[in-house]
């Protein structure tokens, strides 16, 4: 029971509150997720090394932080159990077990002398009229003792708040661990493509992964809406949910408007310029598409830069394969700031310089096709080349969190518990009625948790009620 009592101590709880707040404050000042060299350069070898050693470069999963939170939660659990026991004892098992001397020691007390004689029913009735639940008993000296209580739900409110915080953490744990089927990932889908929960589209760890959902998401279209000043208004991914061959749902996913399907949520997270498309028309009139991937797709704001190592190819009717290389792409630098929707292809002013790849020759000797634009086709060896536009890909955050309902329940319980615990005043009045000849005398004491003014107010009301009752 030693550890139990230790965790139950208010002093320990106070220290843990302070530790958690102080550690949280400190960690917000340290940039997260950087390499060691960054911290050493910024803070010096000693402090930089300490940051890495303590794990504060990933502060919220570091041992010190997790340890403090774990201790706090343990203390919270112990306090929750104690509070519940106390609430039970005070509400259900409250006994009238005091002497007049107890009232003498109360801070808020007074002697009330009514105009005449009062019976114990009179006193009980007045107390009930003031909203108190009353227990009465006589003592060995012929006095009547009354235990009057109201707001006894308040301790339950505080117990609920304590438990609610534990429930929130349990919900968060359920959501974060894979044991309950929760996961969080990103899905990259190119326009026109259907993505599934497979390593090609979503991150999976381990060799024997299993799909976490059994449907596909097809990106029909992606666009950005801008206002007349070029400021981004919204990003939209028009998607279809595909099961087998059937489209089962359509949705425009925007920020604040995720798609929710079969327990999985898809959020608009970001976008990429995956590449640039060039249409090639053969002498026979057949059109094929070349996709030149973007080598600079780490940030949605990065401009398109052709990937030097990617040589898309076409196959001609006679079986010849031709590969092409893009060196240079000009996109109107203000293209992204044009009002209306970006995503309409091709962007005005876009052009690319293409070469025919001849692998037996040095790259500097590859024949140049020239600048290819959207306006006029460029002829080369009987083929016609035309820029078709940029290929966008949407990045969706994907999440299944079975713990969320638990978290929300905990939050609702916390608010309800606070409203009850803080706004309902638990008030106790102890009254001793003694008869002195033709007169009665009441010794009344009141206590209201954390609010001595409220206690005085109830005594005033009792005094007025007794005076008014005569």
């Amino acid at each position: 029971m030693g550890a139990w009592n230790w965790f139950a101590a208010i002093r320990v709880a106070i220290v843990l509150f302070i530790l958690w707040a102080a550690l949280s404050a400190l960690t917000t000042l340290i940039p997260q997720g950087q390499e060691q060299a960054y911290y050493v350069q910024k803070y010096g070898r000693t402090i930089g090394g300490a940051i890495m050693g303590l794990g504060f470069h990933h502060a919220y999963t570091s041992f010190p932080y997790v340890a403090v939170v774990a201790l706090f939660l343990t203390s919270l659990f112990v306090c929750s159990v104690r509070r519940t026991k106390r609430a039970w004892r005070s509400t259900v098992k409250a006994k009238l077990d005091f002497q007049p001397g107890t009232i003498e020691k109360m801070r808020n007390r007074r002697v009330i002398v009514p105009g005449g004689r009062m019976t114990s029913q009179d006193v009980a009735s007045q107390l009930r009229r003031l909203g108190f639940a009353v227990k009465a008993a006589g003592d060995s000296e012929g006095r009547q003792l009354f235990l009057a209580r109201r707001g006894t739900i308040a301790p339950w409110g505080m117990a609920a708040v304590h438990f609610s915080l534990l429930i929130i953490f349990v919900g968060a744990f359920i959501g974060r661990t894979p044991w309950f089927g929760g996961f969080s990932s990103s899905l990259i889908i190119r326009e026109g493509e259907t993505a599934y929960d497979q390593p090609a589209h979503m991150a999976h760890s381990g060799a024997d992964w299993k799909p976490r959902f059994d449907f596909g998401i097809r990106l029909v279209d992606f666009w950005i809406d801008r206002d007349q000043n070029g400021a981004i208004k919204d990003y939209t991914s028009r998607v279809e949910v595909v099961e087998g061959d059937k489209v089962v749902e359509n949705k425009d996913i925007e920020v604040n408007k995720p798609l929710f399907y079969k327990g999985v949520k898809f959020y608009q997270s970001s976008y990429l310029t995956e590449g640039a498309k060039v249409e090639v028309t053969t002498p026979e009139g057949e059109t094929q598409e070349l996709l030149f991937p973007n080598s600079n797709n780490n940030s949605p704001d990065a401009p398109y830069v052709p990937d030097m190592m990617s040589w898309p190819q076409i196959a001609l009717k006679d079986g010849t394969e031709m590969r092409f290389f893009a060196h240079g792409c000009v996109v109107n630098s203000e293209m992204d700031l044009l009002p209306g929707r970006r995503g309409e292809s091709p962007p005005p002013g876009m052009k690319m310089r293409l070469y025919l790849v001849e692998q037996k020759k040095d790259a500097t000797q590859w024949p140049q096709i020239g600048w290819v634009s959207a306006d006029q086709p460029t002829d080369f060896q009987g083929l016609k080349f035309r820029v078709a536009g940029l290929v966008d890909a949407t990045v969706l955050s994907v999440r299944r969190d079975p713990g969320m309902p638990v978290v929300w329940f905990g939050c609702a319980l916390a608010v309800l518990g606070l409203l009850v615990g803080l706004y309902v005043r638990e008030t106790t009045m102890m009254v001793c009625l003694s008869q002195k000849g033709n007169r009665s005398e009441l010794l009344a004491g009141a206590s209201a948790k954390g609010d001595s003014q409220a206690a005085e107010k109830h005594l005033n009301k009792l005094e007025r009620a007794i005076a008014g009752g005569k």
Partner: protein, 282 residues
């Protein structure tokens, strides 16, 4: 945030008006404290209410022009927070009939009004995508306004408590003690105001998590603003906890309120210096 229009002339005039009225109210409350004159008290309340009216008009004007409540930039939030402190104090004064505390609350409001002036800017016609959720924007920020308003009043009470109790009845502390409500009353009222504000602070954290889950897919991202909201919550939870279980009162409790308000200020202003998801609130 980029691309703000120039501030409207009408709003600028109202901004100056409420700033000056709060300054006048500050002077009047201090005069009340010194002279104990009923007339000074009446004048002070009138200036406070006129200032609140002017500020309400400024916020309403901006809301009508923008087509939404003014909750989406640092300037708008600062102005709403000053308004929140004023509202909570005005209601407190009406309920308790204690006007002298205005001498501590109004300087806080006036100081924040200077910050509002410094940050003033025109309307951002287009909100960034994450903010385009009117329901949660209004609920989350609305609860923050009430929470910070309450904590601001509690801070003023704490400062006055510390000044009086620190002087042991001598000098200016004794002078103030004879004019302000009793220390017990102030301690009690500080608890009540914090109890009011704490529920809203809890709602700030919860509604923020709900909104974050809708917008970003994660209810908690350890963003500095989120963490500092948690720190603020922890400090005031500690205050309430210690008061209700250990009967922590007096100077210790007052200092906790001062530290708590410092956390509120950092949540409001300081985190804008740190990178994070809430950086649009600069």
């Amino acid at each position: 945030m980029e691309n703000a229009e120039p501030i409207f002339q009408a709003e600028l005039i109202l901004l100056v008006a409420f700033g000056l009225l709060y300054a006048a109210a500050t002077v009047a409350y201090i005069a009340l404290l010194v002279s104990r004159s009923k007339a000074a008290g009446t004048v002070a309340t009138v200036f406070l209410l006129l200032g609140l009216t002017a500020q309400t008009a400024a916020l309403a004007f901006r809301a009508v022009e923008a087509g939404r409540l003014p909750f989406s930039s640092g300037y708008e939030m600062a102005s709403c927070t000053v308004w929140g402190v004023g509202l909570v104090y005005a209601v407190s004064e009406f309920r308790t009939r204690q006007k002298q505390l205005g001498a501590f609350v109004l300087p806080v409001m006036f100081a924040f009004s200077l910050l509002v002036w410094h940050w003033k800017e025109g309307i951002h016609r287009v909100l960034m995508p994450a903010l385009q959720n009117p329901f949660w924007l209004y609920v989350h920020v609305g609860t923050a306004i009430l929470a910070y308003g309450g904590f601001g009043v509690a801070f003023a009470l704490a400062v006055s408590y510390l000044v009086i109790s620190g002087g042991e009845g001598k000098g200016s502390a004794g002078f103030l003690a004879s004019r302000l409500p009793s220390l017990e009353w102030m301690d009690d009222y500080m608890y009540k105001v914090v109890a009011f504000a704490f529920v809203f602070q809890t709602l700030v954290v919860i509604t923020g998590a709900i909104w974050a889950e809708t917008a970003w897919g994660s209810p908690w991202s350890w963003d500095p603003k989120e963490v500092w909201s948690l720190i603020t919550w922890l400090i005031y939870a500690l205050y309430l906890h210690a008061r209700l279980t250990r009967d922590w009162k007096g100077r210790r409790a007052a200092w906790l309120n001062v530290i708590g308000f410092a956390a509120v200020i950092f949540t409001f202003v300081g985190v804008n210096l740190l990178p994070g998801l809430h950086s649009y609130a600069k």
